[in-house]
Symmetry: C2
Subunit: 347 residues, 2 copies
């Protein structure tokens, strides 16, 4: 069976604070070259450029990020940009994209724009399996092989095998550490990577079944929307009434058609400086340096500076980030608290 | 017996690198407000302002530091400034001052300009004892009560008691750690704080006995020197021939008239960021902050920033120094290696 074309849907919303001060409201995480030369958004686009497999992408973003999307999308490919009237989490954003698909049964591949994937071939293989399951009407989640007892991710417990994947036994909210350790030992739990595949009509049907008010508001917003300069602006008024919700809560945890593909692809959500350090290649001492720096007796140290020279002595597993008039120094363990800093909160 | 007036001699030479980047060649350690509001040089001057006890100070410095001396001396007191033609360590510097004393038997109190003393009353008490011993012809060193097995200081082993002090059994070079630990346990060893008291004629006689060439070159340099704008410039030519040497090597280790006073006065040479942290008062978590900073889960952290905000998470016993385009992050243990940094070496 020849697969239908796959329609990438790139979600460019949100604004994390845990990579502050490098990622700021004015230049959020997807648009900063955090790993390698390209930005995470650019890398996300480049993973779905093969026109034998993928249609041109649909980017869902907010007005605040639009300039970045324009600047980074155009040099790579043509795409459709949908400008969300408001940030309402992922379910409404995906629904907007589903309505804009050129055909009702279009195979959508939903990708966050701010995740890192080291093994792109493994990603493509998983996409193929996911697309096959999605064509059969499944709502497919990507289950990322868990490599650590992360408490910051949702988990998926796999069920009975399917061709190319598994049924989903259940989705699990972010666990506590003890639970996460047991998940890792159990072997049947994957991280929920926030990547999904399904037919547009299947998604909209599930949304209508489980979040009828949201589904209707999105539909009305699309109907009253207009296109300017090649970008689509859904109408603000109906959209504003939506109670924001994630695809996980709104659809995946409720649908009887959930499935998953299991994939190990060097995935990272680059959720904080610890994850970012691990996403970058280190030198012999495990240090990662960007910008002018000199390290003595340091191991596992990340340095990222946009100008000033950083000199470090005797540190282990510490991130040093210099950005404009902000200097952040955190242990890897402390990296998840960066969002609590006044600087990150009031950026 | 009424004591003669004491003539403070303040040595403003040298340029350490271990407080880089705050202390730089262009603005060295004595002239930076490192502890409290005033600079170490200012604090040194202020400790000898009591005109009932002290004459006005003689400052020995080099041309590179002269602007700082002028700026910081004048607002505090009148003093005599001697501009060394070259840096030749402490023995020639002190000899220059000895020649400039208004009377041959003037009681000199030699003080480094870059040390911190918390307990000024204890210092004054020790000065009194030292002056009494010096009047009797002793060459008096200040033995600082050792509070840690420091390997960066010379030590003095005390001998038989004298009125107000002790004979010196021997001076000891910077020991290794094992030796330093044994010194601390022994109880008869003090740190050599680099503070000395003696009569000018006694010092010059000892120098002539043990370093005759140096003594003669200094004498000739003073004789051929001239005064400009109220500052004394010894002649460069004879001075240039001097083989530089410290008072410890040139005089104290050789003189049969060595004595010491024992003093516990919260002394620190502020020799590196570790010492500087310990010299500053900490908050409840032992953190010391100068400039804009926010700390989460930090203990014993020193922050010093001249502008950019420093945010720190999860650190213990780390110094973070931001100065111009330099950012230094070091553990307290690593602080003694700051001088090895390219930035510190090539400032």
């Amino acid at each position: 069976m020849e697969l239908s074309l796959i329609y990438p849907v790139i979600l460019c919303g949100g604004s994390g604070t845990r990579l502050w001060p490098r990622s700021r409201k004015a230049l959020p995480k997807p648009f900063v070259p955090l790993v390698g030369e390209q930005t995470l958004f650019e890398a996300t686009l480049r993973r779905t450029l093969d026109t034998a497999v993928f249609a041109s992408p649909t980017v869902v973003t907010g007005a605040v990020h639009l300039a970045h999307v324009r600047a980074q999308l155009a040099p790579i490919c043509q795409g459709t940009t949908i400008v969300e009237p408001a940030a309402k989490s992922t379910a409404p954003a995906i629904a907007l994209a589903a309505h804009c698909m050129p055909r009702p049964d279009a195979l959508m591949l939903v990708c966050p724009s701010d995740h890192y994937i080291a093994d792109v071939a493994a990603f493509h293989a998983a996409v193929k399996s996911a697309a096959e399951l999605a064509e059969q009407g499944h709502m497919v989640a990507f289950g990322i092989a868990a490599t650590a007892p992360e408490t910051g991710f949702g988990y998926i417990r796999k069920g009975a095998p399917l061709e190319g994947g598994f049924e989903v036994e259940r989705f699990v909210e972010k666990p506590d550490l003890e639970t996460a350790i047991s998940f890792l030992a159990d072997g049947n739990y994957s991280w929920n990577g926030g990547i999904f595949a399904f037919r547009a009509d299947a998604f909209l049907a599930e949304l209508a079944a489980h979040r009828p008010a949201m589904a209707e508001a999105v539909r009305a917003s699309v109907e009253a929307g207009d296109t300017r300069d090649g970008e689509f602006y859904p109408a603000a008024e109906p959209f504003a009434s939506i109670e924001g919700d994630s695809i996980d809560y709104a659809v995946m945890e409720n649908t009887p058609r959930a499935a998953m593909v299991a994939v190990s692809m060097g995935w990272s959500d680059i959720g904080n400086w610890h994850a970012l350090r691990d996403g970058r290649e280190g030198d012999a001492s495990g240090n990662r340096i960007r910008g002018r720096a000199e390290l003595i007796d340091c191991t596992g140290v990340l340095v990222e500076t946009d100008g000033p020279r950083v000199s470090a002595i005797g540190l282990k597993d510490v991130a040093i980030v210099v950005d404009g008039d902000e200097v952040l120094v955190t242990t890897m363990d402390g990296a998840q608290k960066v969002g609590k800093l006044t600087g990150a909160a009031n950026q």
